[in-house]
Amino acid sequence: MAQPLVKKDDDRDEEVEYSPFFGIEKGAVLQEARVFNDPQLDPQRCSQVITKLLYLLNQGEAFTKVEATEVFFSVTKLFQSKDLGLRRMVYVMIKELSPSADEVIMVTSSLMKDMTSKTDMYRANAIRVLCRITDGTLLTQIERYLKQAIVDKNPVVSSAALVSGIHLLQTNPEIVKRWSNEVQEAVQSRAALVQFHALALLHQIRQNDRLAVNKLVSSLTRGSVRSPLAQCLLIRYTSQVIRESANNTQTGDRPFYDFLEGCLRHKAEMVIFEAARAITELNGVTSRELTPAITVLQLFLSSSKPVLRFAAVRTLNKVAMTHPTAVTNCNIDMESLISDQNRSIATLAITTLLKTGNESSVDRLMKQITNFMSDIADEFKIVVVEAIRSLCLKFPLKHRSLMNFLSNILREEGGFEYKKAIVDSIVILIRDIPEAKETGLLHLCEFIEDCEFTYLSTQILHFLGIEGPKTSDPSKYIRYIYNRVHLENATVRAGAVSTLAKFGAMVDGLKPRIFVLLRRCLFDTDDEVRDRATLYLNTLGGDGAVVETGADVKEFLFGSLDIPLVNLENSLKNYEPSEKPFDINFVPKEVKTQPLAEKKAPGKKPTGLGAPPPGPPSTVDAYEKLLSSIPEFSNFGKLFKSSAPVELTEAETEYAVNVVKHIFDSHVVFQYNCTNTIPEQLLENVTVLVDGSEAEEFSEVASKPLRSLPYDSPGQTFVAFEKPEGVPAVGKFSNMLRFIVKEVDPSTGEAEDDGVEDEYQLEDLEVVAADYILKVGVSNFRNAWESMGADFERVDEYGLGPRDSLAEAVNAVIDLLGMQPCEGTEVVSPNSRSHTCLLSGVYIGNVKVLVRLQFGLDGPKDVAMKLAVRSEDETVSDAIHEIVASG
């Protein structure tokens, strides 16, 4: 066995922690690495030095480029040694150093020699190293050996080639795809792991060919796959096939279900679990199909292995969201898991029970949870709080005991996130369960009496200002609010002043008393607090006379701002002090998603206190500036909306063109963003010829050509159309790029004098109804909906025909309308049969529009939709229906 690397006798005797790497230092080790260059190599010593280098790398020590190169070159010398152990360390070292392309050349020949060696260990490892560091050009040279290696009789060699193939497929798919025959042969291998790796590679080679995947799965599910890992893979592929073929089967039988069920009786636990999980995740799984899977998972619940218990309870927890009744059989096992040593398991068990529990078991469950809460970490408590919130929404009659529970835990110790989760839950319960309102508000009031978190205090104060005045006895909250003015920091004090003013504005009976309190706030030490108090006193008529507060004053003070805050911030930053006052009406209202940045994962939902989603930075400003700088377009008025760029060319064509549609009140401007991807060409006088014969209401008024378009530097050309004012005219335009092309000498970069006129066909462009609607979110849809009133409400129902899924139908309608989904309702939970989606927007002419969509599955695939529109204008409500009807 390897020797201790550093011998320090005195260290060994001491009781202090001994490490062979004690006092190791990069500089010294790099010095030591010179032994690699010795003419007479000492394999053992070299091995030790490599281990030290690996140790340093592993500890996160950074090597500079020069150091890494130096080490790499000296390591390559070690290929001279025939020592097996040393060679093995060399392989690991080369992989760790991940050399650059010009360095790779140094070791290529040595590795290729090893790849054809008689020693299996050399072959396997050389393949792995070479494939890790190689690029495409070298790959064609070694392809022949790799193909041979795949069918090598030694499973280690074969696996090494297959796994390398899986990695290479990401970078050089066209080469790896040629290996299909060999890989196919390897799938039949007797060695378990080879079969697994071969199956993984074969599937990835064929993944875009649905028919081939189908064939692969159906042949293998009948045959015998030996390796449990390969069997798990096969289960995953099978469920993918089931998912994709779901549309074609009319009969009740699900293809391959028998295979999945058969896997539940496999001897390997990982296969049993994989199959059980696959069954629970089937689209629209029936309870008959679920039962066998639930049964094996139930057995896992009482396993002695924590991993099995965790896996089972986590899966059942998910099932409980969609099929609570199917999981009830496991309730007894679940209850015993509440006392599980592993708190993750216990938490999952609790939340599952909360989902499956019925009304009568709630009280008993709450008792168990109370004991449980004291000994788990905050993050688990949050999970439990959220589960309790859902439970309360499910059984509103139980709100008393659940609300009590929440207020009790609110009083206990806990971090910010935990407290926030509780407060959010109480707020949601107050909103959705009217009977819980008064007790809930009092709980919150008590909480702010002793709350260390400014954020929560201000949010609760804000919420009290909205809900408090509507209660039967608003005066009882005043004391709690006014206490804040005495006891808290400036932020909370300012919040409290606003809340007091809200009570004053909404409840006339309280006005005189509120004014007294507000006047005292005029002596506050903080500017903001005093300013607020002064503002409210003046606008609400605090000069003695108790008058009814006008609706416009209320709207001014407490109405929601219909402008995204980021846009306001940007406009304020851009505002230059001048004679002209800042006009809030010129702030763009669009919540603009950044067109260039890739789409972000769906963000977290605004919860509880109704925080509006943070709008991404606006590009509207940039467009507006650009357009107003062009004299032809300067008299078009205020830009209403700019669309996201629409690609008019395929990816990777000679000229890449996309278009942004700018909508004005009576004009439309198309901004064509062009990129020339040919280095040998210079384009001049670039215009787009637009044929609007299929867009009758539009007439071209101006165009602005692009003088010159050199290689790889994007430029814009514009075309403007006139259209009837305020009318959402739609139409289709065909586009032709016209330009003068000049040859460029790539070496000098100079263009020839003479050019040739040329044209390039672009794809058609459509102006659709959604272009006339701005995505403008509202923070509280329900309030907005109610305050809009039913005067111009239009309700109608539509059949959307067969759809792949509910989610697909929801997205189609959202895209069609081009409106902003509110409160995260664009997300459809899997397997649900119905969904409600809330949208808001501003229609051209600055008319606010709110839309409530209710979707339901009607029959196996048919989606039906009920569309309710409220807006400030009757014609706009009708127009929205028109869009859907003709869409």
Binding site: S47, L84, R88, H167, L233, E274, N342, E379, K394, G887
Partner: protein
């Protein structure tokens, strides 16, 4: 795209009866659906699109071997989720503190945080961890952990502690190299892993024959104790 549904009474009744009871037309007009849970344990995060190609293959994100103070002994990352050394250290610290108080000496334990599943096992002053994505099959991860754990036991002939590991760190690195390649499981059978690692160290130091006999004996003893224990 949509055929407008002609509004006539007869049709309306037919259609309406097709809906599930109370599912679509709810009078309050508000979604009764419970807001999706944001908690890490049950959330369903969509996998990043670049991983799409590989997402069906079981993947290991990292294998960690830490000491009883959470310090790195040997670690291997197979994913870009932690691009810098400080990100890696932060993850190790989080994993260590989170699992520190649990007893994972008999059976492998499991936990979940930050959308990762972590299986772990402790022996002496060493903490073994294997991390996978949140949708990974827990039992596959556990088998990787068991393979690593047992292989280290075989390589060190049963005396597994930090000092032994550090003194044979070269073999531990080789061991990690043999278990997972770029996130893909290479081998989970401890005997095979240890065999591959040991075959490389054969030529080290001790005479060939002697080495193999000791090794054979050690392996046999190890196997026997294991079969007796289980």
């Amino acid at each position: 795209m949509f055929e407008q549904w002609i509004e006539n009474a007869a049709n309306f009744h037919k259609r309406r009866s097709g809906f599930q009871k109370g599912s679509v037309f709810n009078p309050t007009g508000y979604s009764q659906e419970v807001p999706p849970n944001r908690n890490p344990i049950v959330s369903e995060k969509i996998l990043p699109s670049e991983k799409k190609k590989m997402d069906l293959c079981p993947l290991v994100k990292n294998i960690l071997l830490l000491d009883s103070e959470g310090k790195r002994v040997a670690v291997k990352y197979y994913s870009d989720d932690w691009p810098t050394n400080s990100a890696k250290e932060a993850f190790e610290k989080a994993v260590f503190t989170k699992t520190q108080k649990t007893s994972a000496r008999n059976e492998a334990e499991i936990t979940m945080f930050d959308n990762y599943v972590v299986v772990y096992k402790f022996v002496q002053d060493l903490h073994f961890f294997v991390t996978g994505g949140e949708n990974e099959n827990e039992i596959i991860l556990a088998s990787v952990l068991q393979g690593f754990f047992d292989a280290v036991g075989l390589i060190l002939r049963g005396s597994v502690d930090k000092r032994e590991v550090l003194e044979n760190l070269d073999l531990i690195f080789l061991c990690l190299d043999e278990i997972v390649d770029g996130g893909i499981v290479l081998e989970t059978d401890a005997d095979v892993i240890a065999g591959k690692v040991a075959s490389h160290s054969m030529d080290d130091g001790a005479p060939f024959s002697e080495q193999t006999i000791t090794q054979a004996l050690a392996t046999a003893r190890e196997r026997l104790t294991r079969s007796l224990l289980t």
